[in-house]
């Protein structure tokens, strides 16, 4: 059943989609996608996050690293968890943060994305954290901001959600150690619509994970996903056999409308992660979920709340990882031979 696992090797693919993320010193200027980043950058994010994890456990959870910086949470799509953890992360780094929920303001008045952006930029902020329903929106914004402004992608369409993927890697590393080479990771559910899964797959492969599997019904698998370096399973139990890490994806209720699936009930009967099925995985397997979870749709409550679950840890780690990314992006040394002006 499993297709041959291949790593993406096509040199033509993704040639410049990440270049825009790096400055002339090869450091992160924007954080738009995991794709194309080197393992040293990913490891550096995880190591930095580790140092912030300690800050987060202190009584005074604040460091002055980004004092005087202005960060704008620019959300074109509703979100609670991601927006909140970015906000907390910014505050713990002593930055000023502004929340703008565009879905209910500018664009409904007919303003173009570019206009909105230029108006906000005129307020002299240093960083945009962007969530948008269009794939490529963060790239588009990063390509149109003033040179001193950085962009962090907090989720664009089905394309990428790199900070979520990094906090997932952080969670795996905390539980399974630094070497991903021996790990078998299974991602289960609606791969087709999932930006989280795409970013996770890139991150897992860059960190040299031994076996990355995706498990879904055919209607929820993107075409040629095997080219991203995963093996495909359509059967849950076969797919999670001996897995070290199981990542469950959220199933949106509207998937019944598009005829992707007959019913939540049927989905649960085939792909719901129950305690019973979890026995196929390794005894010490961890169960993850980017949230919000649908109990009884993709996951049984006993699993979500059980001893294998690290779902709430993921949320906690999200703050450290976002602090790491923000501080790395905004705390860069000025570029030498920089010719940028406003």
């Amino acid at each position: 059943m499993a297709n041959k696992s291949t790593r993406p090797t096509d040199p033509l693919i993704g040639n410049d989609s990440w270049n825009i993320q790096l400055d002339s010193n090869g450091r992160l200027k924007h954080f738009l996608t995991i794709e194309g980043l080197g393992s040293e950058i990913l490891t550096s994010i995880l190591d930095t996050a580790e140092s912030f994890a300690n800050v987060n456990e202190q009584r005074v959870k604040k460091v002055p690293l980004l004092r005087g910086k202005t960060i704008v949470n620019l959300f074109f799509e509703a979100s609670t968890r991601t927006r909140t953890t970015f906000e907390l992360a910014a505050k713990r780094l002593s930055a000023d943060i502004l929340n703008i929920n565009i879905s209910t303001s500018a664009t409904t008045k007919g303003e173009s994305l570019l206009d909105t952006l230029q108006n906000l930029q005129a307020m002299l902020c240093d960083m945009f954290i962007v969530r948008h329903s269009d794939s490529g929106a963060a790239h588009f914004i990063a390509g149109n901001v003033a040179p001193h402004v950085s962009v962090i992608n907090a989720g664009d369409g089905r394309h990428a959600h790199p900070t979520q993927a990094m906090l997932d890697m952080f969670t795996i590393r905390r539980n399974k150690g630094r070497d991903f080479g021996g790990l078998r990771v299974a991602i289960v559910g609606d791969l087709l619509h999932s930006r989280v899964a795409r970013s996770q797959i890139h991150a897992l492969n860059i960190l040299n994970t031994g076996d990355v599997r995706v498990i879904a019904p055919k209607t929820l698998l993107p075409t040629n996903i095997e080219d991203m370096g995963v093996s495909i399973y359509n059967d849950l139990e076969a797919g999670i056999k001996d897995a070290d890490v199981i990542i469950m994806l959220r199933l949106q209720k509207e998937r019944m409308q598009g005829a992707f699936l007959p019913s939540e009930h049927e989905y649960y009967s085939q792909y719901g992660l129950t305690e019973d099925r979890l026995r196929a995985a390794r005894d010490d397997a961890i169960v993850m979920h980017p949230g919000p979870i649908n109990r009884g749709v993709e996951i049984e409550s006993r699993v979500a709340d059980g001893e294998h679950s690290v779902i709430l840890d993921q949320v906690t780690y999200g703050i450290s990882v976002r602090m790491a990314v923000m501080s790395m992006v905004l705390g860069r040394e000025p570029e030498h031979n920089a010719t940028e002006t406003d």
Partner: protein, 425 residues
């Protein structure tokens, strides 16, 4: 000026596949002689074509001029001026203007404006269904009488197959050619890129090849039953080409075209969300592109068109899926096709035939040949001139092209339409 002499040019005749250095004598809109000067001929204007290629004027099967309806993007005057500068002497405009070309008044408006612009000749396709809504038949006989050279539903859906069958049947009754842009709406709706590895990586909603092949298959069966004459435009996939090939082998009198950009770009080119490569049908895989080239080579594809779609800059300034599809492509039609020659996909004769003789035959018009007593529609280009595409020098109001900065060899120097020199550089 009534009498024109084009002297000492390299006359490339795609019909006879012959080449010779000679003179062409033009009077009152027609070529009156080739080689030998007619008695008493006195040229009012002479063009020295030494070192230049003389080809039949190009006939473009699909170019959107944006007028009426979208004049903020472009207009007939701007686009026919651009077309003439690109060696295009006739172009055909699909019916999805606003208002739609479903009544004679719109046809007349377009023809009048084009005549005033006095550049490239503009032909029109009438709507297959009223308002292109896929519900009621358009007045095809009246549209034909008004000058429409064919009928088409553009890329708009006719979901009800019975209505489609009747529309084909009625078109056959009117003796008017169907121009089909094969697209199964339900399979392509919401999509913006080829359903393949790049769309998967970028998280873009895919358009599967079946959006094209299901539509072609349905159309072919209805053509068989109704006896309609049909042309399939803008093929994008290997499987689509295969269906056309088999239908032709069965003896069906159908023809097909491809847009020039489909022969040079693939899904790889949208790589970093390059909105200039957002087109419909989408740029497909490398393998599909190779199959299209093969079909151009072996004659399954009869014509290369521009599929010109000029846009204002804002139309491409957004995240990929939210940008508007289309390339401003009049001015790259000949350069790209000549590149096929340089890449040894086809010989020059074939390339020029795909751009002139064959599309003229598809439209059923008297054009695309260099012969005495035929209309003097002529494209004269310098085959050696190297140049680089710079959008700031494009004459089309649409600067939306992914070919900016590409190097080309071969540039139009003079365009003659109806015996009039309309462009020269």
């Amino acid at each position: 000026m009534n009498r024109l002499l084009v002297s000492n040019g390299l006359i490339l005749d795609p019909v006879t596949q012959s080449v010779k250095t000679s003179n062409i004598y033009i009077a009152d809109g027609n070529i009156i002689a080739i080689d030998h000067e007619p008695d008493g001929f006195e040229a009012e204007l002479s063009i020295d074509a030494t070192g230049l290629v003389i080809s039949p004027g190009l006939v473009d099967l699909c170019a959107r001029l944006r007028e009426p309806g979208l004049e903020f993007k472009a207009d007939i005057h701007s686009e026919v001026t651009a077309a003439a500068s690109a060696g295009i002497t006739t172009l055909c405009c699909p019916p999805d203007t606003d208002p739609v070309i479903d009544e004679p008044a719109v046809v007349e408006l377009i023809h009048r404006k084009a005549a005033n612009a006095a550049n490239t000749r503009v032909l029109t396709l009438g709507a297959l269904t009223r308002g292109l809504e896929g519900q009621l038949l358009s007045e095809m006989a009246i549209l034909k009488a008004a000058g429409c050279v064919g009928v088409s539903n553009s890329r708009r859906p006719v979901s009800n197959t019975l209505i489609l069958r009747r529309a084909y049947s009625y078109a056959a009754n009117c003796g008017i050619t169907l121009f089909i842009e094969p697209d199964e709406h339900w399979l392509s709706k919401g999509g913006c890129a080829h359903d393949g590895k790049v769309a998967t990586r970028l998280g873009l909603q895919g358009i599967p090849v079946s959006a094209e092949t299901v539509a072609i298959s349905r159309a072919l069966e209805l053509i068989l039953e109704t006896g309609a004459r049909a042309h399939f435009g803008r093929l994008s996939s290997a499987h689509g080409v295969e269906l056309i090939r088999r239908a032709k082998e069965r003896g069906m009198a159908i023809t097909a075209d491809v847009s020039a950009h489909q022969l040079f770009l693939s899904e790889m080119d949208i790589n970093s969300f390059n909105s200039m490569c957002h087109v419909l049908p989408p740029l497909r895989s490398q393998r599909d592109m190779e199959a299209l080239r093969e079909a151009v080579k072996d004659g399954v594809i009869d014509a290369i068109c521009s599929d010109h779609q000029p846009h204002e800059p804002d139309a491409k300034q957004a995240p990929f899926a939210s940008t508007q599809a289309g390339i401003s492509s009049l001015e790259t039609l000949l350069p790209l096709t000549l590149r096929l020659v340089h890449e040894q996909v086809v010989p020059t004769y074939t390339a020029l035939s795909l751009l002139s003789t064959q599309p003229a035959a598809i439209l059923g018009i008297d054009a695309g040949v260099l012969a005495t007593n035929r209309p003097a529609d002529i494209c004269i280009y310098d085959p050696e001139q190297d140049w680089q595409l710079d959008t700031s020098t494009m004459l089309s109001r649409g600067k939306n092209t992914p070919f900016e900065g590409w190097n080309f060899q071969g540039k139009v120097r003079h365009t003659i339409i109806d015996g009039r020199l309309v462009y020269t550089t």
